[in-house]
């Protein structure tokens, strides 16, 4: 299996990355090589093996339900590009 340039352009769009035609061509080639590796793994018979979601299978550490975070809004908003009335301002988004 290999990726064509159109698929690469679609992935770049989903990741909001701007790429040139030239880059699309070279990514198509290098990403396809990764797929070759995956094909090799796909060929292994994994019947009866539970899928691994994480290399650390010891399980999630849980936190008690207490509020310990102080309000640091002022600090955070100092480094934000634009704020008003306590809100972070971003370019207009509306669906």
């Amino acid at each position: 299996m290999s990726l064509d340039r159109e698929q690469v352009r679609k992935m770049a769009h989903l990741a909001r990355l701007t790429i040139t035609e030239q880059e699309a061509a070279s990514y198509a080639e290098t990403l396809s090589r990764i797929l070759v590796l995956i094909e090799q793994m796909n060929a292994v018979d994994t019947t009866g093996v539970a899928p691994m979601a994480h290399p650390n299978e010891s399980g999630l550490r849980l936190r008690e339900d207490t509020v310990t975070e102080p309000n640091l809004r002022e600090k955070f908003q100092k480094i934000a590009p634009s704020v008003e009335a306590g809100l972070y301002l971003v370019p207009k988004v509306i669906e």
């Binding site: 936190r63 339900d65 809004r73 971003v90 207009k92």
Partner: protein
């Protein structure tokens, strides 16, 4: 052609934890913008999520209540999309392995029961809020809600009418409030519903193409939005058109749905297991602990009320509509020793009318269970009549103390002294010679008039039973 409606619901319930799903920031509603959004919530580089034990506890509690299988191992995944209300660029959710697997809920529509399957319930984090008004062409972002734990409850496409959908939603709403895992506040968005709606010719096995309705934030709107959408799809199909799979927004002002985005341009979320979060592993002890915290569930309570207190189905369902209501009723029974039916009437009729009038719920009723008990005790021992009791109730509602205090202050104690009642009767008869003559001449309907006059003269305090009896004797020719 006859059409059949097929509905499945996705409900997002905000879990009632104090802190967020993956950070220790507060979840309180209505705080100043961004004062409850910590470094994790605003996605500063280098932060790591740590999961809230209580959120897992609540999800399991729900799973047990709907008879579902609890997955001992569930996996958090990243759902990738760019939107400023989740600055990480993804939402942490569960995809292939949710915490709660298949379960069910029984609904009651027009007196017949129906089982609605629940496909799954999974944990995820809520997004922040975008404010599009007046920021000089910019959008304002409040991330206080970002990271609040949600349990998304997905039903099977088992509902066949908007009525069934509303019944299911109400049942679910009642359940999460009983379990105390969600406050159910639809206005504040802590209980939100999306509906998948399609139609197919009757008898057809295959489902039709569905539309997903978003933005329905009340039970009434669910019904209206579905009804509108069903009409729209039928009209479209009968006119030779085709339903496209898409997301539609319900507009309650116009009572219409409009297209938001079609699946063709739909987002590709590229789910994958979140490398920051190893699988959530719950052992039997954890689940057993949760089991111990399960309250008596609404259906069980309803059946018990019918059996134990000989209530009819209507009274039982009103009295078990919330845990607070049921607790109130049982506390009144316990403290007053009143007849269960009489106590039920006082709560479902008198109390409900006042609660509705003042837009309150039972938890904030000025007439506490103890005060209601004091009233029912005085009613049972004949200190006051039913009519006076209503007056006492209103006084209690207005903050004039418990029943005994009101009765004493207003001098409402019932007159049960026969001699005193006779005196009143004599006076009334003396004042109404004409009516007396007519009554004795056979106009028996006037009896009610005399009773009324006696009650009025005694300011409603004469015992009605005694008045009837004594009056009958006195009026005899």
């Amino acid at each position: 052609m006859e059409w059949e409606t097929v509905i499945g619901l996705e409900v997002h319930t905000q879990l009632l934890t104090r802190s967020k799903a993956f950070s220790a920031a507060a979840t309180k509603y209505g705080a100043e913008p961004n004062t409850q959004a910590c470094a994790v919530d605003i996605a500063l580089p280098g932060v790591l999520p740590v999961f809230n034990r209580e959120a897992a506890h609540m999800a399991v509690k729900f799973g047990l209540a709907i008879g579902a299988q609890i997955n001992h191992r569930s996996v958090f995944a990243r759902k990738n999309y760019f939107y400023p209300d989740l600055p990480k660029g993804y939402q942490i959710s569960q995809y292939e392995l949710p915490i709660v697997a298949k379960g069910h809920i029984t609904i009651d529509v027009d007196g017949s029961e129906k089982v609605i399957g629940i496909t799954r319930a999974h944990l995820e984090e809520d997004a922040g809020k975008s404010l599009h008004e007046d920021f000089h062409g910019m959008t304002g972002i409040d991330l206080n809600r970002a990271g609040t734990p949600l349990l998304e409850i997905v039903s099977e496409p088992d509902m066949r009418s908007s009525k069934e959908a509303v019944a299911y939603l109400k049942k679910l709403h009642e359940l999460v409030r009983y379990l105390e895992i969600c406050d159910g506040n639809m206005q504040e968005g802590s209980f939100r519903c999306d509906a998948n709606v399609s139609v197919r010719p009757f008898g057809e096995k295959k489902f039709g193409t569905r539309a997903e309705l978003k933005n329905i934030n009340s039970f009434r709107f669910v019904e209206k939005a579905i009804e509108f959408e069903v009409e729209r799809q039928i009209e479209l199909l009968e006119g030779g058109g085709k339903v496209v799979q898409e997301t539609r927004l319900y507009d309650s002002d116009k009572n219409a749905t409009r297209s938001m985005r079609s699946k063709e341009e739909a987002m590709d979320y590229r789910y994958f297991p979140d490398p920051d979060l190893p699988p959530l592993v719950l052992d039997d002890a954890f689940i057993a602990d949760v089991k111990k915290t399960l309250p008596e569930l609404p259906d069980v309570k309803r059946a018990r009320f019918i059996k134990q207190y000989s209530l009819n189905a209507y009274d039982a369902s009103v009295l078990t509509s919330s845990r607070e209501m049921a607790d109130y009723y049982e506390q009144v029974l316990c403290e007053s020793g009143a007849d269960p039916k009489i106590a039920a009437n006082w709560i479902t009729v008198e109390m409900s009318a006042f609660l509705n009038r003042d837009n309150r719920d039972i938890a904030t009723s000025p007439v506490t269970a103890r005060m209601m008990s004091s009233l029912l005790k005085r009613l049972a021992d004949n200190t006051i009549s039913g009519k006076i009791a209503k007056e006492v109730f209103e006084a209690m509602w207005n903050g004039e103390g418990d029943a005994d205090a009101v009765i004493q202050k207003k001098g409402l104690k019932q007159i049960t002294d026969g001699a005193a009642i006779e005196k009143v009767i004599d006076a009334v008869i003396a004042k109404n010679p004409k009516q007396l003559e007519q009554y004795r001449a056979g106009k028996e309907a006037l009896f009610g008039y005399f009773v009324g006059q006696v009650m009025k003269a005694s300011q409603g305090k004469a015992n009605p039973g005694q008045v009837n009896e004594l009056l009958k004797n006195k009026l005899k020719p």
